[in-house]
Amino acid sequence: MKPTFRTAMTWLHDWTGILTGWVLLAIVLSGTLSVFRPEITVWMHPELAGRTADPVQASVAAIDWLHTHAPHSPAWYLTAAGPRAPFTWAVWQQSDGQFVQRALDPSSGAPNTIRDTLGGEFFYRFHFELQLPYPFGRLLAAIAALALVLALVTGIVAHRRFFTDFFTFRPRKGQRSWLDAHNLLGVTVLPFHLIIAFSGAVTLATLLLPWGILAAYPGAPARFGDDLSPAMSARPAAGTPGTLAPVEPILRDAARHFGPDGIAQIYVYNPADAASTIIAIGGNGTHVGFNTHVLRFDGTTGRLLADYREHRPLISASAALYGLHVARFAPLPTRWLYFICGLLLAAVIASGLRLRTLRRRRQGKSTEAVERLNAGMIAGTPIAFAGYFLANRLLPAALPDRAGHEVQAVFIVWGLMLVLAIALPSARSWRVLSGLAIPALAGVAAFSAPWLTGVEQGTAAVAILLAAGFAYALSRRPPPSSRAN
């Protein structure tokens, strides 16, 4: 058995890393992109570039459109327009029960004037659902988040010297340099890594550990939701038809209540029923906590039924952790810091995976299979995600189920990259995949034309920097024939 605490923790660090590294890499990269979820949605709707929208007016237009086109959906879930998003994001149910999600035009409220794409929603959903059926994707993501917490804490023990030694990075020394990079990127933003991993688990806690809820609310676990956020629950449908009151005064009233926080979301339950409910959720303009101010209105009369602000210390703390994870509060500079730190976390994971194969190779063990998969995941994931952006511009605008085809493109590219990586010897697959990443990312930068808005400039800049990173890696890596080991 392993003799000391440190070797035991190192063993645990290595195995947690190797078993969850690949799935964590995909989760971290898609989560990093989700930081700019509305911006990516704007990029993917060039029709919306440069437009602005008033959250109340755009929501009123959206509700009017839904009123005529989806009156019998049990609920309409709207994410209001705002300074970052000149569109309303709407989710509703068709008469066949199928959920639809679309960006709605801020002035007409209709989806058909703009192309059908999931935009940034794809990365956001993939980040915690992994394109798997409920609840497996979410459970896997929650377990991966806790595995990341475990890997970070055991990593502190395993690489404990880095707190005194992280100021020099020794490049061009093979395994030594990878270890330095792994330590340096891990330790400089360690608070970010720890908080993002733990708060990620917090967002999925009710699914992972429902036992406390079942024990405290025997037979009625849904009551926990009512207690957690008392204004958030709708009243049951009356079963008799009713008409929705004019929504504009209601939303103006809500906007007045929220003040500088702004309206983030609007849920309309049973819109065609006599007991319809409108729920408005405040944004994060002035505080970190997520969903801490909620209003409930009577949908038929427009009367305010409940105005709930979260003040309970423990639940506020949990909401703050949630808020720190989703970063809706973050002003633009902080948002970029989140993005960069997310990329650094991905780099920590990738360098850790690389480090392990280098070490095993030095011990004379075969690492070829793992190394090929490493190439497929580490270089293949950015290519697949770039493929999503490219598909958005290459698929014809009027294609039926366009959004679905865009998502398919991601997995087709991902699959191809993995097959390619597995088929080639690892030293070659790194070169080939890095070589493919450069034109893919350059394509994203080119399709960001005309580079006038912040969204277009930011996307192009990130794509070019990543392409430059791959080009640098390619130039640094000697051709396979001259490699020493």
């Binding site: 806790l146 992972l208 024990a215 309970r312």
Partner: protein, 88 residues
Amino acid sequence: MRMGMILRVAVAIVGGYAVAALAGIALSRCLPWSRAENVTAGMLAGLLLWPAMVMTGFALRTLLHVCAAITGIAALLAALALLGGWRP
């Protein structure tokens, strides 16, 4: 050796989850605040306890120690939950 490691992994992960679940139950039944707050506290504690228990599972010297520690903590939490009126 190999078998011992597999057993250790299993005990650490499954036992750790049991401890986290029991902590959630015990705290949600025994804390003095409102139900929603107790449940939230229990869930947060559970999220911290699971990785902590996995680490414990590898930090202790023998498998017997690990089993004893995890069973002991789980029994303590279960007793607390039963005292708080929880019936499985």
